[in-house]
C-alpha cells in the first residue's frame, strides 16, 4: 500500500494553546480516511493542515513533519497556491459562489489563467458528471448556483474541487448541513470518487465513517487515540476511550 501523506510528530498551537499534540499518521493513496471524535478535538484543524488553510489564521504555529509524495508541505518555501490545486477541499456548509453553475466550476481554472472556452467546457462537463450532478443541471448551467437545493449545492462544490484535477479531496463534515437523502447521495459519490482520488473526511457521524471509509482515526483532545482500518476500529477497538465513544457513552 502506497502512502500519499506521511505525518510525524505534528504539533499545532493557537497562540499558547496547543490544539494538536504529536500526531503521526500515514494516509494511503486512493482510500477513504475518516477522522472522528467529539467537537473541539482538533480533527478539522488537522484536516486544514493538509492544504495549509491554517496559514490564514493569525497566531497559528505548526511544528513537526508532514510530507505529500515525499515533499515537505510545511516548508515556507512551498508554493501554497500550487499545493491547493493538488489538494481540493469541500466545506461543512455548501458554499457555492454567487454566480452561475458554470462559472462556479470554471472558477479555479480561470484563476489559473485557463481561458480556452473548449477546454473549460470540457472540464466543467466532466467535473459535473463525476460529481453526479450533470444530469440535473445540464440544461441550466447559466442559472445562479443558489437556485440549487442544498445537496445539489454541495455536489456542485465537489465538482468545483474536482475541476482542478487534484490528487486529494478533503471533506470537512460535508453532509452535516444536508438531509438524509442528500447525505446518502454524497456518500455514494464518495465511493465513486475513491477510484480516482484520495479522500480524507471529517465526520460527526460514526455511522457515516463506518459506511464510507477504509481507515478511521479517532481524535480526542488534540490527540490521535487510535488509527486503524475502519473494520478493526469499529469492531475491536484497542483503546477503552475509543470503545466508549463509538458505543455512545460520551461525545
Amino acid at each position: 500500500m502506497e502512502n500519499i501523506f506521511e505525518i510525524r510528530d505534528l504539533d499545532l498551537y493557537y497562540g499558547t494553546n496547543q490544539a494538536l499534540k504529536k500526531i503521526s499518521m500515514d494516509i494511503h493513496r486512493n482510500e477513504v480516511t475518516a477522522f472522528i471524535g467529539p467537537s473541539g478535538c482538533g480533527k478539522s484543524t488537522f484536516l486544514r493542515c493538509f492544504n495549509r488553510m491554517n496559514d490564514l489564521i493569525p497566531d497559528c504555529r505548526i511544528e513537526g513533519k508532514m510530507t505529500m509524495n515525499d515533499t515537505d508541505i510545511m516548508s515556507s518555501k512551498l508554493n501554497v497556491v500550487d499545493l491547493r490545486t493538488r489538494v481540493g477541499m469541500v466545506f461543512q456548509k455548501p458554499n457555492p459562489f454567487p454566480m452561475s453553475i458554470y462559472d462556479n466550476v470554471a472558477y479555479g481554472l480561470r484563476c489559473q489563467n485557463i481561458k480556452d472556452k473548449k477546454v473549460l467546457d470540457q472540464i466543467v462537463t466532466q467535473s459535473l458528471k463525476k460529481a453526479a450532478l450533470w444530469e440535473e443541471v445540464k440544461d441550466r448551467l447559466n442559472e445562479n448556483a443558489y437556485k440549487l437545493s442544498g445537496g445539489q449545492q454541495q455536489r456542485l462544490c465537489i465538482a468545483r474541487a474536482i475541476s482542478m484535477e487534484p490528487d486529494v479531496i478533503l471533506m470537512d463534515e460535508p453532509t452535516s448541513a444536508l438531509d438524509p437523502i442528500a447525505t446518502s447521495k454524497i456518500e455514494d459519490l464518495i465511493q465513486e470518487l475513491k477510484r480516482d482520488y484520495t479522500i480524507i473526511i471529517v465526520t460527526h457521524s460514526m455511522q457515516q465513517a463506518a459506511r464510507v471509509s477504509d481507515y478511521t482515526a479517532f481524535f480526542l483532545l488534540g490527540e490521535v487515540i487510535e488509527f486503524n482500518t475502519t473494520k478493526v476500529l469499529f469492531q475491536i477497538p484497542s483503546d477503552k476511550r475509543t470503545e466508549d465513544y463509538i458505543t455512545g457513552r460520551f461525545g
Binding site: 488553510m53 490564514l56 491547493r84 466545506f91 458554499n95 457555492p96 454567487p98 479555479g108 484563476c111
Partner: protein, 413 residues
C-alpha cells in the same frame, strides 16, 4: 420576601411614567420634522417651478434701439393665452408675472415677425453696438421709450410702474414712435448651481470612491491582523468627527497648490471637489469595510482552497459580493456632497456662477442658499425652494439606501 400590593402599584406607575416619557420624546422629534417640512414647503412652494431649474441666476440686460420703420396694423394670433395683452400697433403680446423674488414683471408672450421689436439692435457701447439682437419670449420688458403727440420722450414698462395691460394701452393710444427698449432676462434660476453640484459630485466621487475602496480592502483583507491596522482604523474614524470647516481651511491651504497645477486661480470647483473627497474618504472606507465584513468567510476559504491567490479571491469573489454595500456607501456620500456647505465656502467661493467650469468657482445648491441669505436682501422664498429640491434629493437617496441594504441582507440569508 413578599410582594405587597403597593410594590405592584409602584412598579406599574414607574412603567407608565417611562412609557409616557419615551412617547413624548418621540412625538417631539416627529413634530420637529413635520414643522421643518411644513415651514420650508410653505415658504418655498410658490417659487418652485421647472423654470427655476433651467434659468440663469443673474439677469441679462439689453439696451436696444428700435428701428424707425414701425407703422402697421398687426393681427392678433388666435392661439394666445387669454391673460395676455396684444398691441395692435406694434405687434407683440405681453403678460403679467411674478419673479422668483415676488416682484411684478411684464413678460413677452409673443412677437410678430414683422414687429419693430423683432428687429432691434444693440444700443450699448461695445463690440456688439449696432448689431441685431433678437429677444425672445419669456424676457421681461423693463422699459420701452416712446415719443408722444407733443414730441416728448416718455417711458412705459415696469420702470413706469405699469402692468401688461397699461403698457399695451399706453403704447397703442399715445405713442407715435418707439425709440429704445430696456429688456431683461428674468434670472433668479439655479441652473448654474445644479451644474456646479453635478461637477462637484463627479470630482469628489471619482477620487474618494476608488481610494476609499482600496483602503478598505487593505484594512479588511490584506492587513487584517497587522499591528498597525487598529491604529490606522481609529485615526480614520477620528477623521469623521472633524468639523468640515477645518477641512475647508485645509483645502484652501494644502490642496490649493494642487489645483494651481491645473491652472485654476483662486477658488474653483476642482478645489471644492478635492476637499470634499477628503471629507468623504472616512465614510467610504468605513462603509466599504462593513460591506466586506458581511461577505461570508467561507467564500474566501472556498476561493483559496481552489488555488486562487489573495488578489484573485478579493477582486473576483469578495468585492463583487460587497457591491451592494459599496453602492449604499456611494449614495451616503452623495447625500454628504449635496448637504455640505462650510467646507465649500472657502474652496469653491460663494459667487453664484451661471456657466461654471471645473476650474472656475461656483456654488453647490447648499452654498447657493447661503449666498442668497447672506446678501443685503435675503431671498427667503428662493432659499426655501432650493431647500425643497435638496430635501427631495436627500429623501430619494435615503430610500435608495434602504432598498439597497435590504437587498444586501437578503442575499446571504
Amino acid at each position: 420576601m413578599k410582594v405587597t400590593e403597593t410594590m405592584i402599584k409602584k412598579r406599574k406607575v414607574k412603567d407608565r411614567v417611562l412609557q409616557t416619557v419615551t412617547l413624548i420624546s418621540s412625538s417631539i422629534s416627529v413634530l420637529i420634522l413635520i414643522m421643518l417640512f411644513f415651514f420650508i414647503f410653505q415658504k418655498g412652494a410658490g417659487s418652485l417651478s421647472f423654470k427655476l431649474l433651467t434659468d440663469d441666476y443673474w439677469a441679462k440686460n439689453y439696451l436696444l434701439d428700435i428701428p424707425a420703420e414701425q407703422t402697421g396694423t398687426y393681427v392678433k394670433p388666435a392661439n394666445l393665452p387669454t391673460d395676455s395683452f396684444w398691441s395692435v400697433k406694434y405687434g407683440f403680446a405681453v403678460t403679467d408675472a411674478l419673479s422668483h423674488e415676488k416682484q411684478k414683471l411684464i413678460l413677452i408672450e409673443y412677437i410678430d415677425p414683422a414687429s419693430p421689436l423683432a428687429k432691434m439692435t444693440d444700443a450699448s457701447s461695445g463690440p456688439n453696438f449696432g448689431k441685431a439682437q433678437l429677444i425672445s419670449v419669456g424676457m421681461q420688458i423693463q422699459k420701452i421709450g416712446y415719443v408722444d403727440i407733443n414730441g416728448d420722450t416718455r417711458s412705459a414698462g415696469t420702470i413706469a410702474d405699469q402692468n401688461a395691460k397699461t403698457l399695451v394701452d399706453t403704447l397703442d393710444s399715445s405713442a407715435l414712435t418707439l425709440n429704445q427698449a430696456y429688456i431683461k432676462t428674468t434670472g433668479g434660476g439655479i441652473r448654474g448651481s445644479i451644474v456646479s453640484t453635478f461637477y462637484l459630485i463627479l470630482i469628489s466621487l471619482l477620487l474618494a470612491v476608488p481610494i476609499g475602496i482600496m483602503t478598505a480592502i487593505y484594512l479588511n483583507e490584506y492587513a487584517k491582523y497587522n499591528r498597525f491596522t487598529p491604529w490606522l482604523r481609529s485615526s480614520i474614524e477620528m477623521l469623521t468627527g472633524v468639523p468640515s470647516i477645518i477641512y475647508g481651511l485645509m483645502g484652501m491651504v494644502v490642496l490649493y497648490p494642487v489645483t494651481a497645477l491645473f491652472k485654476a486661480s483662486g477658488t474653483s470647483i476642482l478645489l471644492g471637489g478635492l476637499t470634499l473627497s477628503v471629507i468623504l474618504l472616512p465614510t467610504v472606507i468605513r462603509s466599504t469595510e462593513e460591506a466586506l465584513k458581511v461577505v461570508p468567510d467561507n467564500f474566501r476559504d472556498a476561493s483559496l482552497s481552489l488555488g486562487a491567490n489573495q488578489a484573485q479571491t478579493i477582486f473576483r469573489i469578495v468585492l463583487p459580493s460587497a457591491i451592494p454595500g459599496i453602492l449604499s456607501a456611494i449614495l451616503l456620500s452623495l447625500g454628504r456632497i449635496i448637504g455640505e456647505s462650510a467646507a465649500l465656502i472657502y474652496t469653491m467661493g460663494t459667487f453664484v456662477n451661471d456657466s461654471p467650469t471645473v476650474l472656475t468657482g461656483g456654488t453647490s445648491l447648499a452654498v447657493h442658499i447661503w449666498s442668497l441669505m447672506s446678501g443685503e436682501q435675503p431671498n427667503f422664498a428662493l432659499a426655501s425652494a432650493i431647500s425643497i429640491i435638496i430635501l427631495i434629493i436627500v429623501l430619494v437617496l435615503n430610500i435608495s439606501v434602504k432598498l439597497l441594504s435590504g437587498r444586501l441582507r437578503k442575499t446571504w440569508q
